[in-house]
Every structure is written in C-alpha cells, then in structure tokens.
Symmetry: C2
Subunit: 204 residues, 2 copies
C-alpha cells in the first residue's frame, strides 16, 4: 500500500448497515490481501443515540497500536446529522456525501464532484464528492437495505486508487458473507454500482 | 457501574461468532442502559489468520479516548489457540475457558472453577472458570452455532456482578438482532444457559 496508515469512517444512521460495510473491509483484507493489519471499531453509548451510527477502519502495513480513527483519510457520510464528522477529515483526504440525505453543506466552495468545505472549525482541505448512494440503492436496485454496499463500492474504488486493496477482494468477502446466492448477487451488484458512480465522478 | 473502565475480550476461532457477541454488548448498553460509553473492535490481518478470532469491548462511564483493550478484566477463551491471550488478563480479573476446546492449561494451580495460571510471562492473578460453553451449545441446544450466545450469557452474569448492565438489556438486544421469533428464542435460550452455568460455577 502507498500509505503507512489509512483511516476510513462510514457514518450514517442505524439501519444503514455501516458496521457490516466496515467489517467486510477487514475480512477482505485478512483473507484476500497480504501483509496488512486492520482494526475495525464502532463506538456505542450516549453519543450514538438519536439514530447516529458510525463505524471505522484503520488499515496499516504495521501492527496497529492506536486503533482510534483520528483524521480519516476517507469519510463516507450518509446523513445530514453525520455531516458534523466532516471536519475530522485528514488534509488531502476525501469525503463522499450522499446526495439525497445530505442536503445542507454550508460553505461548499464548488459544486458537485469537487471543492472544499468551511465550517466553524475552519476550512476542510479535502476532495468532496456528492454521489447518489441512497438513490442508487433505492431507485436502481429497489432495495434501500443495500445502501451500505453502494457505499462500500465507493470505498473500494478509493482503496484501488490508493493501491491498498483490490475490489475483487471485497467482492469475495461480500460473497462469503451472504451464503444465499441470490442475496450475494444483489449485494455485489450494489457494490458494483457504488464502484462505478465513484469511478465516473468528476474528481478521481 | 462500579469500575470506571471495564475491558472484555472474547477469543476463539472464526465461525464462533465472537464479533456478534461483543456487538450485542454495545447495542444493549446503547439502547437499554444509561450513561455508559462502549467501543467495540476487532483486529484483522496477518495475526488473525489460521482461524483465530477475537473481539473486544471497552465500557466506560467516561468518553473513551483509548479504545484498545490492554488488560481485559474479563476474557472468554473458546479455543486452545486463544489461550495465548490469557496472560493479558488484568490482575484480579476473570478468565472463562471452554472446557471442550481448551484442554491444556499449563500451571493451573487448582482445578475446575477456580485457581490461577502460570505461564512463561509469570503468574496470572485472575479468577479462572472452566465451563461447558461449546458442549452446552452442541449437546443441550443441539446448535453449535449458538456457542457465542452461551459465552455472552457468561459475560452477562459478570456484567451483573460488576453492576455494569442488566442481563435483560442483553436479552432485549438479542431479540432486536434476530427478527425471526424462533431464532431469537433459540439464541435467548442459549444466553440463559450460559448465564446459569456461570452463576452455578463454584467461584461467583
């Protein structure tokens, strides 16, 4: 992998399956990639009430001593409430917003597909993508429940670009997770859609 | 809760469902207890190959800055390979071994239900329980797949003793997780068995 340590956070609401999406990253790397360490985690408790949900992954070429995500290199933000996590993003990192549930991005300095965000904590120096994640699950696949797999497809495209893991490793981990062939197929199709909407977005 | 911070590790092999067991602790505390923070995590990567699997939970009355488990207050160890984690146990903590898969405990100074362990890293000052977790799932419930729920029942008994969470919170989290009533019932039955085998063991 290009970076020594790469941090990913997927944030949304309970029921969007963000924990499973991050677990599959861990399983894909364990089983189908070589020489990488992953710690996957989620916080529960008072802060997680009100439907907010986030799950995180740290990937490293070295054993991970500090598994807490401090400055995610990649964030996928699926709800308006989760936009509050945006300022944590690492400088030069990436933020993928869902274009259906995230409607209010104060200070976005350019439109769809690129730009930067300012908030009260200052300018976020990150590449911004606003993509139809929930809409793809709901309208194209007719199963909102696969929102997490569309999001995971976006993550997979970034893991490709960063030379961390191949998207086929993730497809295999998805297939492992869903023993019923038809359900595996739906989830992989959603994953592939997510991969494509990121690949075709203006900022690669 | 009595302690400011309480660390739990469940260790076994892939397929024993240790990740789900720890996730349900997080969900139970989020939804059905007040004022506690939980971070649940698992490490993947080269060290996790060969079938070893461990999942961890940190519970705290304060926000958790360092989510890595350093010295678990409670460990549930379901395979011989996972016995290597035993020396991490906190002084005065508890170790629950499965009596079917864990057959070799060098230096156990007393038998079933109590004692302490020595290994190359020195004496482990912990309360030791050797309980029929896998056998209860396999023989009594006739479903080895509920091994994790029997283990979770043991954990629940300790969370009761430590005044951290009530076992009913965990039962509700299990029921939430399994929408099919019959499957929920089987899992709660396994949980109840685990709770009882710990409760009836010689060292409470």
């Amino acid at each position: 992998m290009a970076a020594e340590r790469y941090e990913i956070r997927i944030a949304g609401s309970g029921g969007q399956g963000v924990i499973l999406a991050t677990e599959l990253i861990g399983q894909a790397i364990t089983l189908y990639e070589e020489g990488l360490y992953v710690v996957q985690s989620q916080a529960y408790g008072p802060e997680a009430r009100g439907g907010k949900s986030k799950a995180e992954v740290v990937i490293s070429s070295e054993p991970i001593d500090y598994p807490k995500v401090m400055a995610p290199n990649l964030q996928v933000i699926l709800t308006q409430a989760a936009v509050e996590y945006a300022p944590d993003t690492a400088h030069g990192g990436r933020i993928v917003y869902d274009d259906f549930f995230v409607t209010d991005l104060p200070g976005v300095s350019s439109g769809y597909g690129g730009g930067s965000v300012e908030d009260s904590r200052g300018r976020i120096d990150a590449r911004i993508y606003t993509l139809p994640i929930v809409r793809t699950a709901r309208d194209k696949l007719e199963r909102e429940i696969v929102t997490n797999m569309v999001a995971l497809g976006c993550v997979a495209r970034v893991l490709d670009l960063e030379k961390i893991a191949s998207s086929d490793s993730l497809r295999k981990a998805i297939a492992d997770h869903f023993p019923a062939a038809k359900i595996a197929e739906l989830n992989i199709q959603a994953f592939n859609e997510g991969y494509e909407i990121f690949r075709q977005s203006p900022l690669p």
